[in-house]
């Protein structure tokens, strides 16, 4: 309000920025890179271990086959189930607290899905698309919890972002693929197969050729072959989708995890916070992309073709 106050606020900001900058410098000096540059270790207690990354998820319990990503996905499932179970225990017509939040999520997802898909198909797609979204985003966010990365057993990290295990995106991609094909058949019946095996034009052309109309038939034959080839491409694209689904999520999440690890290694303080924020955002974006693309492909599958 007054200039004096304003100056005070500005001063606070400057002090804060200087402090943050000092923390960055101190932590950089303490880190392995800074120590290496200086040639000695003035702040050795600040040193963060060099990141060890392996693409294969670790197995913290030597006598049990489960991986740390499996544990994380169970945690995500428990978190989601717990939220929804508690939030829907005493449903009230006038919502409060958790029920309100859950209703907000469900309603937003329902609107998002039913907008392109329509009421009827939207009701089919809703559970799968929403669950994919929630699972991916919960996996991503759970692994940003403080202490998540530091827990370890037998020298192996106990927990690891489930999205960085190729099995998780692959399982989601397969689920997405299967449901899309199922909805395609459910909506269009056997005619859905025509998307992949389009013999109609070729058959007609052959009929024309056999009945002696060579001139019309020749063009028709070409069209028929093209339609057949387009169907084959469609099969291929449906299969490749699974791959792209899998590696998009896996790649983004793994890159994010490695980025945060490297930032923690180089400058342990302050700066990684920014990357944590970015990772939280990317987790949400990847979840929306996975759910949204499933929705888009599902809409394309149920749409009648002319």
């Amino acid at each position: 309000m007054t200039p004096k106050w304003h100056r005070g606020g500005f001063l606070k900001l400057v002090v804060l920025l200087v402090a943050l900058f000092a923390m960055i410098i101190i932590s950089f000096i303490g880190s392995e890179v800074g120590s290496g540059i200086l040639g000695f270790e003035p702040l050795s207690f600040l040193k963060v271990e060099a990141p060890k990354y392996q693409v294969v998820p670790e197995r913290p319990f030597s006598n049990l086959p489960m991986t740390n990503t499996m544990i994380t996905s169970w945690i995500s499932i428990l978190v989601l189930f717990g939220l929804f179970f508690i939030g829907t225990r005493n449903m009230k017509l006038v919502p409060t607290g958790l029920q309100n939040v859950l209703e907000l999520i469900v309603e937003a997802a329902a609107d998002f899905i039913e907008d392109p898909a329509g009421e009827k198909h939207g009701r089919w797609f809703f559970p799968v698309c929403t669950t994919i979204f929630l699972f991916v985003v919960t996996n991503a966010w759970v692994s940003l919890m403080p202490g998540f990365e530091t827990l370890s057993i037998n020298g192996e990290p106990l927990l690891r972002n489930a999205n960085t295990d190729l099995n998780v995106p692959a399982a989601l991609a397969v689920v997405s693929f299967c449901f899309i094909e199922y909805w395609g058949f459910k909506a269009r019946g056997a005619s859905y197969l025509k998307t992949f095996f389009h013999f109609g034009p070729l058959g007609q052309a052959l009929k024309q050729v056999l009945s002696g109309k060579f001139k019309d038939g020749a063009g028709g034959l070409l069209n028929g072959v093209v339609a057949l080839f387009a169907g084959l491409l469609e099969i291929l694209s449906h299969l490749i989708r699974m791959m792209s689904f899998t590696f998009r999520l896996f790649g983004n999440m793994t890159a994010g995890m490695i980025l945060v690890m490297i930032m923690l290694f180089i400058i342990p303080w302050v700066l990684p916070t920014i990357f944590y924020g970015l990772e939280a955002f990317f987790g949400l974006v990847q979840a929306m992309i996975f759910g949204g693309l499933t929705l888009g492909f599902a809409c394309a599958a149920v749409m009648e073709e002319e």
């Binding site: 693409v55 294969v56 998820p57 086959p65 489960m66 991986t67 990503t69 499996m70 996905s73 169970w74 995500s76 499932i77 989601l80 189930f81 929804f84 179970f85 939030g87 829907t88 449903m91 017509l93 919502p95 029920q99 859950l102 209703e103 469900v106 309603e107 329902a110 809703f126 559970p127 799968v128 929403t130 669950t131 994919i132 929630l134 699972f135 489930a162 295990d165 190729l166 099995n167 998780v168 692959a170 399982a171 989601l172 397969v174 689920v175 896996f250």
Partner: protein, 169 residues
Amino acid sequence: MEGFLGLTLPSFIGQLINFLILLGLLTFFGYKPIRRMLDERSNRIRQSMEQAEATKQEYEQARVEVGEQISKARDEGQAIIGQAAQGGERIKEEARKEARKEAQAIVDRARAELERERERLVDELRKEFVDTAILAAEKVISETLDRERHRRIIEKTLEETGAFRRKVS
């Protein structure tokens, strides 16, 4: 043991089952009750809005009806007042007529009374005059005549002269 980039069948199947379990759990414990609640709420809201609309319409109708009734009542009241005024006028007129009639009757009675009184006075006067005349005549002619005869003579004379006629116009 480990496949391409850590892709292994047991892990893959495990994660697949994880996801399907989550899908089932969320569908039955999350989406279904919440969507049911949302539908119920939107139904409730639609119902109450329809109800509000109906109430509004009813109110509007009632208002119109009441207005009509009020205006009808006002007309009726106006008519009654008119009738009453008319009745009052008539009563006043009747009263006036009655009063006039009565006054006329009083005047008539008074006139008749007067007439009678005058006749009586005239009779009286005549009697007196006759007696006086007789007395005078007696004195004048100093002769006592048969009183009755005199009377008759005088009466006759009076008739003839027309004086003190019985009927005075």
